[in-house]
């Protein structure tokens, strides 16, 4: 098999395994990455909510926040795992599309 096809299979395996990135932190009671807290968390940690941070933190409304569907914050982990895999598929499809378009633009001459 060509190496490029093996790479795609490898990406596919990673997509299927990706919920580990959700389940392991939950199992080991690990919280948010350092410096990526939401407003409530930072108020608790720092003792106050910095004014500039407060005004900027909701600047962008991502369509699938935290690799889940909107309003799914309190869903059980099985649901979130599904959303995580779905996010990985959507994200990768979009990335592949953008990269192929860029690549088409970049590599016009054949050697």
């Amino acid at each position: 098999m060509k190496i490029i096809n093996r790479f795609w299979i490898f990406i596919g395996v990673l997509i299927v395994l990706s919920p580990l990135g959700l389940l392991l932190p939950d199992h080991f009671k690990a919280g948010t990455a350092w410096g990526e807290w939401g407003s409530d968390e930072i108020r608790e940690l720092a003792g106050y909510l910095p004014a500039g941070l407060n005004s900027l933190s909701d600047l962008w409304k991502a369509p699938m926040p935290d690799y889940a569907f909107k309003g799914w914050e309190d869903k059980p982990l099985s649901y979130l795992s599904f959303a995580y895999i779905f996010s990985a598929v959507v994200g990768i499809l979009l990335i592949v599309l953008v990269t192929l378009l860029l690549g088409k633009f970049f590599s016009k001459k054949e050697e």
Binding site: S18, G35, Y67, L94
Partner: protein
């Protein structure tokens, strides 16, 4: 290491957009000159790989999480400029679609993860594997070391960007406006967690894939990387 909106002030955000603009332009020019049509799928795989590997949050039990970036591997296989473009695509999709990393911080996040990380990693790999045979174990070591150091140098810059905020922006009473933690906290935390845990994840991922490729398709190790 994905800095969200609100943690960096306008000066820092603007500065890193201004720094990245010429880097993206040069990357586009160089990749346009060197990328062959048959390498385009590899560019897509590199971006996809970096995207999905960043979803594997690794826990520090009872503490925080972090992840590998995969960017050093992409740089070894495609060269640092193509890696810069591939990782940028991944980071922009993460920010826009999933809110992972802020849109005001895309410049800074790309500087750390799409520029510093692949370039540092690539040149460390080149230096340590210098004149070694394609299938030598020195190459595997070089890949691991490059992964470990590449992500740690990137984490150092992220810590620097976080930590400078209280100095740059604060109220008259001394309350920070953006990231509330100064260099004395941000630098040791960002570096410490990557030196202890996440750096090893990047090292192992990079070294294992290089080891696999040595067995399966050693040609690819001589391609993208050695050209630039």
């Amino acid at each position: 290491m994905h800095i969200p909106d609100g943690y960096l002030g306008p000066v820092t955000c603007g500065f890193f957009y201004a720094v990245m603009l010429p880097i993206w332009t040069i990357a586009a020019k160089i990749v346009k000159k060197t990328l062959k049509v048959k390498q385009v799928p590899m560019l897509a795989i590199g971006a996809a790989f970096s995207f999905v590997i960043m979803m594997f949050n690794v826990p520090i039990p009872g503490g925080t999480t972090g992840h590998a970036v995969g960017g050093v591997l992409v740089a070894i296989l495609l060269g640092p400029w193509a890696a810069c473009i591939a990782i940028t695509v991944a980071l922009v999709v993460q920010a826009l679609l999933f809110g992972d990393g802020g849109i005001t911080a895309i410049g800074a996040n790309c500087f750390n993860m799409a520029f510093i990380l692949p370039f540092a990693g690539y040149y460390i790999y080149k230096a340590v594997s210098y004149k070694s045979a394609v299938n030598s174990s020195r190459r595997i070591f070089a890949a691991g070391l490059a992964g470990y150091l590449g992500i740690n140098i990137a984490a150092f810059f992220a810590g620097l960007e976080f930590g400078l905020q209280p100095l740059l922006h604060h109220t008259a009473s001394g309350q920070a406006l953006y990231c509330p933690y100064g260099l004395n906290v941000a630098l040791p935390v960002m570096l410490g967690e990557h030196l202890l845990i996440f750096g090893w994840v990047e090292a192992i991922v990079t070294a294992l894939v290089i080891k696999y490729l040595q067995k399966q398709d050693a040609d690819i190790l001589g391609e993208g990387g050695s050209k630039q």
